[in-house]
């Protein structure tokens, strides 16, 4: 660990500097987003058919594809963010405090991208609000999609509230060093602030974290989202209780990978070696290994349940899955990364931040590939193969690929904008690293004595 002492000036650096690289990145992200918006406008004008989706049957293929796969993947990325942050608060995992706010912002970004995908995949997105809200009392009873919309709204609101409440402390303390041009925003962020509230807010945020850590992993990504698939008995590739834990493990893998990439970028851009230390990357990499191991174990359960004397429909779907080159590539990537994480655990000299970054990128690519294939295969191998004589294939169209560029750009823009507005590292983290936080244990819930 570096001997440099973290200061307030360190965490204010992103706000008070403006570099050429920042502009280049901003320009590239804007271009990526605009490119997708143009493609989406074309899709809106011509209909979803321009992607080849929306025609299962005479056209063969699949009606759900990259859009739905990427939707699940982004929700997954979003998850770990707030879970990591909540774990810092609830389980005293102070080591990760410096990346907690980056993690919360990853949640906001990931959920925004996921929500956007819902809209993009709709044949008539103009009916999104009037249909869902206007008929909520009917659809909430029979549509897992409406459950999804409800829980994602709740999750987004809880995460944003968490971020909003914790920012009050920082913005108030650092106000004199924040740029005046954003004064109205800071005023709204700290509306009604008084120092007396700190303890109450800390306790409220503790309970917010508790609600999130139960709701997000167990009931959203291990519940409502896998239920979109797991509750459909006609698709043997989807159905089954294993999807809950499976989805959760993928979410945690992709989320940790996402946080590592974003943390790496910020550390590099703002010389934060002494704030986002190597130790954080080592720790995150081990967690990544743990969740990757769980994921591979769930895959094994799924495969064995299908191929060894499984019901015919399930056996067909699973055999098709394991025989698919895309699945083999994805699993090889993920397994290879796990081997590396184990090896660097045995021989720490094998660890480097660049390798951790590479491992994160591979896991993100692997999980996205697996998710898209999972979505498509449900349609390709249904129990009652009514379209057996019109077999189709699915390959994402250019517009769908562009949606990945667009949503990644959207999340990048969110970080680029937020980093100019508020500190992306909590003031508490700096205080903690310096060992001078006055604001400590009594802020959390008192321990319950057994």
């Amino acid at each position: 660990m570096s001997t440099k002492e973290p200061t307030e000036a360190d965490i204010l650096r992103p706000i008070n500097t403006l570099t050429k690289k920042y502009f280049i990145l901003y320009g590239a992200a804007t271009l990526g987003l605009v490119a997708f918006l143009v493609a989406w406008a074309y899709q809106l004008q011509q209909g979803l058919i321009v992607t080849g989706l929306g025609d299962w049957g005479s056209g063969g293929g699949s009606t759900w594809g990259l859009y739905i796969g990427a939707f699940i993947w982004w929700v997954g990325v979003a998850h770990g963010g707030i879970i990591l942050s909540a774990a810092v608060r609830l389980l005293n995992m102070d080591r990760y405090m410096p990346v907690a706010r980056l993690a919360e912002m990853t949640t906001i970004g990931g959920l925004s991208a996921a929500g956007f995908y819902i809209l993009v995949h709709m044949g008539r997105p103009d009916r999104m609000v009037t249909s869902v809200i206007g008929h909520y009392h009917i659809t909430v009873n029979n549509s897992p999609l409406v459950w999804d919309v409800t829980v994602i709204t709740a999750y987004f609101v809880l995460s944003a509230t968490y971020l909003g409440l914790t920012l009050r402390y920082d913005v108030n303390r650092l106000r004199d060093d924040l740029p005046d041009k954003f004064e109205p925003v800071y005023k709204i962020l700290t509306i009604g602030y008084s120092k007396k509230e700190d303890k109450v807010i800390d306790r409220m945020v503790w309970w917010l974290a508790a609600a999130v850590i139960i709701m997000a992993p167990l009931l959203l990504h291990g519940g409502v989202i896998p239920w979109l698939f797991a509750l459909l008995p006609a698709m043997p590739g989807w159905t089954g209780a294993i999807q809950g834990p499976m989805f959760l493990s993928i979410a945690l893998m992709s989320a940790i990978s996402g946080i590592m990439i974003i943390s790496y970028a910020f550390r590099r851009a703002y010389d934060w070696d002494h704030i986002i230390t190597d130790d954080i990357f080592r720790g995150l990499l081990l967690w990544l290994g743990f969740f990757t191991l769980l994921f591979l174990w769930f895959q094994l359960q799924t495969i064995i349940n299908g191929v060894f004397l499984g019901p015919t429909n399930k056996a067909v779907a699973i055999e098709a899955k394991i025989g698919h080159p895309v699945y083999q590539v994805a699993m090889t990537m993920i397994f290879g990364t796990l081997v590396y994480i184990f090896l660097q655990g045995i021989r720490p000299a094998l660890f480097s931040k660049k390798r951790a970054l590479l491992a994160s990128c591979i896991i993100l690519a692997g999980t996205l590939t697996e998710k898209i294939l999972f979505v498509v295969e449900g349609f390709l191998h249904p129990t009652f193969d009514i379209y057996a004589n019109t077999p189709g294939t699915y390959f994402p169209s250019l517009i769908e690929w562009l949606s990945l560029v667009g949503t990644t750009a959207l999340v990048a823009l969110l970080f680029l904008n937020l980093s100019k507005l508020v500190p992306v590292v909590e003031l508490h983290a700096v205080e903690h690293l310096r060992g001078d936080h006055a604001h400590d244990d009594d802020a959390t819930e008192p321990e319950v004595e057994a």
Binding site: A41, L44, Q45, L119, R124, P125, D126, R127, M128, V129, T130, S131, I133, G134, H137, I138, T139, V140, N141, N142, S143, V146, W147, T150, V151, T153, A154, F156, V157, L158, A160, T161, G164, L165, I191, G192, K196, E197, K199, V200, I201, R203, M204, W207, L208, A210, A211, V212, I214, M215, L219, L220, G223, V224
Partner: protein
């Protein structure tokens, strides 16, 4: 005769099965799973905000205003966006603002 038959309460002779039982009508399965299971952590959180110590009702209400404000701004924002999409791409705002049915 017909009048006499319709006068018999349906509960007496009708088998009582309903093809959509469990799916339609409020409240039903989905209502329970969302509002009585999934959202329970949120209810506990809200209860803790107002009942735990140290507490301050004003700060608690501030938290609630964050929740309500963000939910409202999300859905109102989305509504504005979908009306714009309707006007630009589908010949008018969505139903029921404009006529029901294809444009």
């Amino acid at each position: 005769m017909n009048a006499a038959l319709t006068a018999i309460p349906s509960e007496l002779l009708y088998h009582g099965y309903d093809g959509t039982a469990g799916f339609t009508g409020f409240a039903n399965e989905g209502t329970w799973i969302i509002f009585a299971v999934i959202l329970v952590p949120v209810y506990i959180m809200l209860a803790a905000w107002f009942l735990g110590e140290p507490r301050d009702t004003k700060t608690g209400l501030l938290g609630v205003s964050y929740l309500v404000g963000l939910t409202t701004s999300m859905w109102v924002g989305m509504f504005v966006l979908t009306v714009l999409i309707g006007i630009v791409f589908y010949g008018g705002p969505p139903e029921p603002i404009s006529g029901v049915g294809p444009p």
